[in-house]
């Protein structure tokens, strides 16, 4: 399968300046949200842990901008970016992370289990690869019900160690289901480089099942988005599933508490990705170079989002915890 050619001319791709700026805004929102989560953790204001998506923003945004609101996604333990990109609001996200009643799951899911039916988010999943069959099932239902919806299954390269993923790829291709498997290869399975866990070629694994497989620069939102649009439309028109391998990097640790990382990866590597492959910088530079925007607009967007994020945190910190009787609600319908 060949790598998709990305089009440098935005007018040719059908994505206009406003849409690129919107994607920039979405990526900024994820980054500032995650920075705030890190601060909440450092300040001991957040229970538990969180797995930050900083550095990988272009994948969630580039893919979700190719979806309709009613299309489905399933997400991972590193899932805040997917939820926000699919349309979740920062205030209810913060509430969920703090275990507060107005959270998306009434505080009962937490960072690793945010689900939002209204935006087609079938839930983040704390079992690595655990949602691959669920996303496949959502695509199965879409096809059976003829509602034209597509499902996207986000997972990291660590999930390639799970047999369930291959069972899912097999059924999706066998039954030509409208599902896109988006593999975010951030190089590390938790604290272990993928070269120590994954034999052979990641791409060839999906190709072996006959899936259309595309490898993209996961830091380049334009490339991610163009590819996702093509694969989503292809799925929607009944041509079957696809596998999208996105090369990316996790700027921070496996989770917020993973501070000293030199034992598994060098600082220089982190700096190189931050400086040379930052998805926000890559998009803003491209927009400036192509005279589609000037630098002022990016500062303006960041300022607006910063206000939104800060007021959302304040709201969440003040929000009530669930009442004790909530503990035994929703075990059964």
């Amino acid at each position: 399968m060949s790598r998709v050619q990305t089009k440098e001319d935005s007018s040719m791709s059908g994505v206009d300046r406003e849409q690129w700026l919107h994607m920039y805004e979405q990526m900024v929102k994820i980054r500032l949200f995650e920075e705030q989560v890190n601060e909440l953790y450092q300040g001991a204001k957040m229970p538990g842990l969180a797995h930050l998506y900083i550095g990988e923003e272009a994948i969630a945004v580039g893919v979700c901008e190719a979806l309709k609101r009613e299309d489905y996604i399933t997400s991972t333990h590193r899932g805040h970016g997917h939820c926000l990109a699919k349309g979740a609001s920062v205030d209810r996200m913060f509430c969920e992370l703090l275990g507060k009643e107005p959270g998306y799951c009434r505080g009962k899911g937490g960072s690793m289990h945010i689900a939002d039916q209204d935006t087609g988010n079938l839930g983040a999943n704390a079992i690595v690869g655990g949602s691959s069959a669920i996303a496949t099932g959502a695509a199965f239902a879409s096809k059976r019900l003829g509602n034209g919806r597509v499902a996207v299954c986000f997972f990291g390269e660590g999930a390639l160690g799970q047999g369930l993923v291959y069972e899912s790829l097999n059924m999706a291709q066998l039954w030509k289901l409208p599902v896109i498997y988006v593999c975010e290869n951030n190089l590390y399975n938790e604290y272990t480089h993928h070269s120590e866990s994954t034999a052979g070629s990641m791409k060839a694994r999906a190709e072996a099942f006959g899936l259309l497989t595309v490898e993209v620069d996961g830091q380049n939102v334009r490339e991610v988005h163009e590819t996702a649009r093509r694969l989503v439309e292809r799925g929607r028109s009944g041509e079957g599933p696809a596998f999208m391998l996105c090369n990316t990097y996790r700027y921070l640790g496996h989770h917020v508490g993973d501070i000293s990382r030199e034992y598994y990866r060098p600082k220089e590597e982190e700096l190189k990705w931050r400086n040379d492959h930052d998805p926000l910088k890559m998009l803003s530079s491209w927009l400036i170079e192509n005279q589609l925007a000037d630098s002022g607009i990016f500062e303006q967007i960041e300022g607006q989002i910063r206000v939104e994020v800060e007021s959302a945190v304040a709201y969440a910190l003040d929000a009530p915890f669930p009442a004790p009787e909530e503990v035994s609600k929703h075990v059964y319908v």
Binding site: G109, H113, S131, I134, S142, E167
Partner: protein
């Protein structure tokens, strides 16, 4: 117990329930290994694919976790899947999708998402199928909040509970004793009916001792009751029918009335269903009891192949009779 002119086998009653629900609701579909033309390895579903087609009686790859997870996703997004897991021993393969996904999704999402699916699988030893095709693992499912667990013992109960399970909004696990598919026959009315989930049933009334029994152990208990009758002991046989939710009241009331109880179940005895049910009775009927609540489960050994050994591991009527006789000082 229900009486009717028409009699069906346990397997026929299950097939009839599935057929009626497939006819009633176009969202219902079944998936599993060799369920279409083969009609399952037990030949329970023969004829369904001819009526409903391969889309609704779907043969899957041999990928139990994959197709169970697919059913979870399909249930979350508008369909009503009935998953067929050929042998209950394969429960270990699917347990993440059942226990971590299906059972928890409604709760973890704060009540927003739901998983209306049915998981059918088998239990029961005695088929000379050895250690990996003979276990009764219903305790595994019963341990996990968020699942409903049904263990019907009669064709009437199996049909009525299957229909309720398919209409339920929660993930429901039904364990069918494979030894009963063809051998157990009983009255099943031709008219439409369902049995509510969570209601036990007194299969035989008695006054001296309560025998609480699940699935095929109901027949072991009924045979023990017949033997006890011969020595002047009147045994009551209570079938909980559903393990989760459990009809505690029916169990407790019977034990309060008779003052003695034995719990019989084909799962392993250690940490098993018998322990949970005995605890419920001990708590609820303590001041009415004349003897400690006893329990009989399968022996705590991997199920052996040799018939000479396998039969030793399964609770039997003689064992129940001897224990009841002792409790009643006979």
């Amino acid at each position: 117990m229900f009486t009717s002119e028409r009699e069906l086998t346990y397997g026929e009653a299950i097939k009839e329930a599935l057929a009626e629900e497939l006819r009633r609701d176009s969202r219902v579909f079944m998936l599993g290994e060799d369920i279409a033309e083969a009609g399952t390895t037990f030949k329970v579903l023969n004829g369904l694919v001819e009526e409903f087609g391969k889309d609704r009686v779907l043969d899957t790859p041999i990928s139990e976790p994959g197709f169970t997870g697919l059913a979870v996703g399909a249930a979350m997004t508008g369909l009503r899947p009935v998953v067929d897991i050929m042998f209950g021993d394969f429960s270990g393969l699917i347990m993440d999708q059942v226990a971590n996904q299906a059972a928890k999704i409604h709760y973890m999402s704060g009540g927003k998402l739901k998983v209306p699916m049915v998981l059918r699988t088998t239990m029961g030893a005695g088929r000379r199928s050895a250690a990996q095709h003979s276990q009764s693992l219903h305790a595994w499912y019963s341990h996990i909040p968020g699942l409903k667990v049904l263990v019907p013992s009669t064709p009437y109960d199996a049909k009525g509970l299957m229909k309720s399970a398919i209409r339920d909004e929660n993930p429901v696990v039904i364990l069918e004793d494979k030894m009963m598919y063809k051998t157990v026959k009983g009255p099943v009315p031709a008219e439409e009916y369902t049995i509510p989930i969570g209601v036990g049933d007194v299969k035989r009334e008695g006054t001296d001792i309560t025998l609480v029994a699940t699935s095929s152990m109901v027949y072991v208990a009924l045979e023990a009751a017949r033997l006890l009758d011969e020595i002047g002991v009147s045994a009551e046989v209570v079938d909980p029918r559903t393990l989760v939710p459990l009809d505690k009241q029916t169990l407790i009331e019977s034990a309060r009335k008779t003052s003695r109880a034995i719990v019989i179940d084909e799962g392993y005895e250690q940490y098993g269903v018998t322990a949970e049910l005995a605890s419920v009775i001990a708590d609820g009927a303590f001041y009415y009891l004349d003897a400690p609540v006893k329990r009989i489960g399968a022996m705590n050994v991997p199920i052996p192949f040799s018939p000479a050994l396998e039969d030793l591991t399964i609770p039997n009527a003689r064992g129940v009779f001897e224990m009841a006789k002792m409790l009643c000082n006979k």
